[in-house]
């Protein structure tokens, strides 16, 4: 059978070799164990052998040519058919053979640290930071004290813990938490702002986001919702957003790598699909409580759940578990917004799906430009755990599902 002879790998540190000479000439027979060529490596010239009986064919590499390991060097005709079928000289090297090495190399293991700063970074002069010990900083933050207002008694005037503790007992804190007037009924916006700040900072600091955007024709979906609602009393009507959540949730069944959590660099798939529905709070702030098992809920039930959640967001009666439960987030701008939103992943989740404001736009259907209701869907996902290709397939499938609203 025909096969090719490839540049052999003679050592883990051999990446390429230079052909010095062909020992076997075209047409010449060779036997298993014969030297077929001489190859120059960093360790000197090595006679390379064949592992099968056969006949030398057309050379594919010229003498003096340096080629990487695995490069076809010559056509050969092998006689040991049974063995040759399984032998790699003719067959493609299996793609998975190096997979474990690669995995190990790129994987961030627990305890691994980020690469050191480039040496040049040291020479940059930075303005001197206010000197305060880590413990003092934390205490000041808890007491609501501004470090700049404190006098330091530590080395070089550094603020240490005792300075914060004594200031806390003496002066009125800048913002004494206990004495702050209770805000109107509803969530504690300051605390929420702090939580959002912490989560989003962590997200942007730690999560390598990638972003994808896809325009989806929502005409059928909006028509379907209109038809659905037209024959129902107001309390049984549903919102378009419910379809969007359901479409995302159902599609996620096929994309488990977008539904779960980052646990110290490793992906932990979620056991259910609990969609966090991003809900803005008037006056600022945002929460995304969970709709549990959204992929399995009928649209009416999903609507009821969403209605209940929004009501309780407004009333400030969410349970904390509802905020911790989502396995993925959907953020929908609704009717009043802009074309598209690029979400920031809520850690430890690994993906957020955004929908801009649906609006009528020209669209080409069957070669004709027609007005259609379009929405721009986006995906921001954690590149440590999924890649753009999967993400793109996911978004496209969400779009397809929304073309068949009655199946949702």
């Amino acid at each position: 059978m025909s096969a090719v002879y490839r540049m052999p790998s003679l050592g883990a540190d051999m990446e390429a070799g230079t052909l010095i000479e062909w020992v076997k000439q075209p047409g010449e027979r060779f036997a298993k164990g014969d030297v077929i060529a001489v190859v120059e490596t960093q360790k000197g010239a090595i006679e390379v052998e064949v592992f099968h009986d056969g006949v030398m064919g057309r050379p594919l590499v010229e003498t003096g040519q340096r080629v990487p390991v695995g490069t076809p060097m010559a056509e050969v005709e092998l006689v040991d058919v049974q063995r040759a079928a399984a032998a790699a000289p003719g067959g493609e090297p299996p793609a998975e053979r190096r997979a474990p090495t690669r995995t190990a190399a790129v994987r961030t293991l627990p305890g691994a640290t980020s690469p050191p700063e480039p040496a040049g970074a040291r020479s940059i002069t930075v303005p001197r930071r206010l000197r305060a010990s880590p413990a003092a900083r934390r205490q000041a933050q808890q007491l609501g004290l501004a470090l700049a207002d404190l006098a330091g008694s530590g080395p070089d005037g550094a603020i240490v813990l005792r300075d914060v503790v004594s200031a806390g007992g003496r002066a009125a804190p800048v913002r004494p938490p206990a004495e702050r007037p209770a805000p109107r009924r509803g969530p504690n916006l300051d605390a929420m702002r702090g939580a959002i700040a912490a989560a989003m900072s962590r997200s942007k600091r730690e999560i390598p986001h990638y972003y994808l955007s896809h325009t989806i024709d929502l005409t059928r979906a909006t028509d379907w919702v209109a038809g659905h609602n037209a024959v129902r009393p107001p309390e049984r009507r549903i919102l378009l957003g419910v379809l969007l959540i359901k479409a995302v949730a159902v599609t996620l069944r096929n994309y488990p790598q977008l539904n779960g959590f980052d646990r110290e660099g490793r992906f932990e798939p979620a056991t259910g699909i609990h969609v966090g529905s991003a809900t803005a709070i008037r006056g600022g702030g945002l929460v995304a409580p969970a709709i549990h098992d959204a992929d399995r809920l009928e649209l009416d039930v999903l609507m009821d759940r969403l209605r209940d959640l929004v009501a309780r967001v407004r009333a400030g009666t969410l349970r904390s578990s509802e905020l911790a439960d989502p396995t993925v987030t959907v953020s929908s701008l609704g009717e009043r917004g802009v074309d598209r939103l690029y979400g920031v992943i809520y850690p430890p989740q690994v993906a957020i799906v955004g929908f801009g404001t649906p609006s009528p736009r020209p669209w080409v259907v069957d070669g004709q430009v027609v007005p259609r209701t379009l929405v721009t869907a986006t995906l921001a996902a954690d590149h440590r755990h999924s890649d753009g290709h999967r993400g793109a397939l996911f978004l496209a499938q969400v779009g397809q599902r929304l073309q068949e609203p009655d199946t949702l």
Partner: protein, 329 residues
């Protein structure tokens, strides 16, 4: 709690531990240079040869690699050998066996083979033994995955760690600081095995944490006493196990005191003190109210003259001064 105690030296406590192990388990034997007829370089094994005979108190030629490797092989063959290496400096001749064999075989064999060997060695300075008999290379061993490293500082630990180490299925290296052998204290007459895991808080205090082990423990306790006289309450942690390190005990203490000083007779560069300091930074950064301090040996081979040897090693005054610096006083 035992009612009866008696005045015991660290040396006697180690000897009693060996005797106890030899009596408990016929698989246990001791081998090393001059452990038999001579009675041990530091007289630890004095009398055991007469009691247990040349098979179980086995004198070896000056072949550190050979007999340490034989101990590893015997452990794989079902025995429970105690290998005594005269000092840590000599153990460098056996590093191949300890690092390439004892530490790797379980892993290299895919978990098929265990190496339940115990290797004891003396370490540390203070006896004017100069630059080839005085070093503290514990950190080198603590660097190696596959072995456990302990440093008994108290009589209870000297008496109790050996048996636990022999029962451990993995290789254990025990460091005995030479300045501890003559140390005496009351030891319960029924003292027995103790855990070889975990650190111990030897003195409680709220102002700073002093972290140390082995021969430096008593200097550190003395420094803590001096600091108390100046109104600084120091907590003293005895690491006991150098690999694995007991992070939890260290971090819990630092969370209370917000300051840490590490006292380590090893050289500062690449030391255990450096490792502990890094871990505190990683795990308790926001608890810190001052940079972590270190008192280590001067970076010089240990010199012979007494005044220079003293100057090279951590001393009580230096610990007190460093502790004050850390507390900002």
């Amino acid at each position: 709690m035992s009612a009866e105690t008696r005045e015991t030296s660290y040396r006697e406590a180690v000897r009693e531990a060996i005797r106890d192990a030899l009596r408990r388990d016929p698989r246990v034997f001791l081998m090393g240079e001059d452990v038999g007829r001579y009675g041990g370089c530091y007289a630890v094994t004095k009398g055991l040869y007469d009691e247990f005979g040349p098979e179980r108190i086995r004198d070896t030629p000056l072949s550190e690699s050979g007999f340490t490797g034989a101990g590893i092989g015997a452990a794989m063959g079902g025995m429970r050998p105690i290998v005594e290496i005269m000092t840590v400096n000599f153990s460098l001749l056996a590093l191949d066996q300890i690092v390439n064999n004892a530490a790797t075989i379980r892993h290299m064999s895919g978990g098929q083979l265990n190496v339940p060997v115990v290797i004891r060695m003396a370490c540390g300075a203070g006896r004017q033994l100069a630059a080839q008999h005085s070093h503290s290379l514990e950190a080198w061993y603590a660097h190696i995955p596959g072995i456990k490293v302990v440093a008994p500082a108290t009589l209870e630990d000297a008496r109790g760690m050996l048996w636990t180490a022999l029962e451990d299925p993995d290789p254990v290296v025990i460091f005995e600081h030479v300045m501890l052998y003559n140390r005496t204290a009351q030891l319960a007459s029924d003292a027995g095995p103790v855990s070889i895991e975990g650190a111990a808080v030897r003195r409680a205090g709220g102002d700073l944490t002093l972290i140390t082990y082995g021969g430096s423990l008593y200097k550190t306790l003395e420094a803590a006493e001096a600091l108390a006289g100046e109104g600084i309450a120091a907590e003293v942690i005895d690491l006991r196990s150098l690999r694995p390190l007991d992070d939890a005990t260290i971090m819990a203490s630092v969370a209370r005191t917000h300051r840490a000083l590490i006292v380590d007779e090893g050289w500062r560069s690449g030391s255990l003190a450096a490792e502990i300091s890094a871990r505190i930074m990683e795990q308790a950064f926001w608890e810190l109210d001052a940079p972590v301090g270190r008192v280590c040996s001067a970076e010089v081979p240990i010199p012979y003259p007494k005044h220079l040897e003293d100057a090279a090693l951590p001393q009580v005054e230096g610990i007190v001064a460093a502790a004050k610096a850390v507390t900002g006083r």
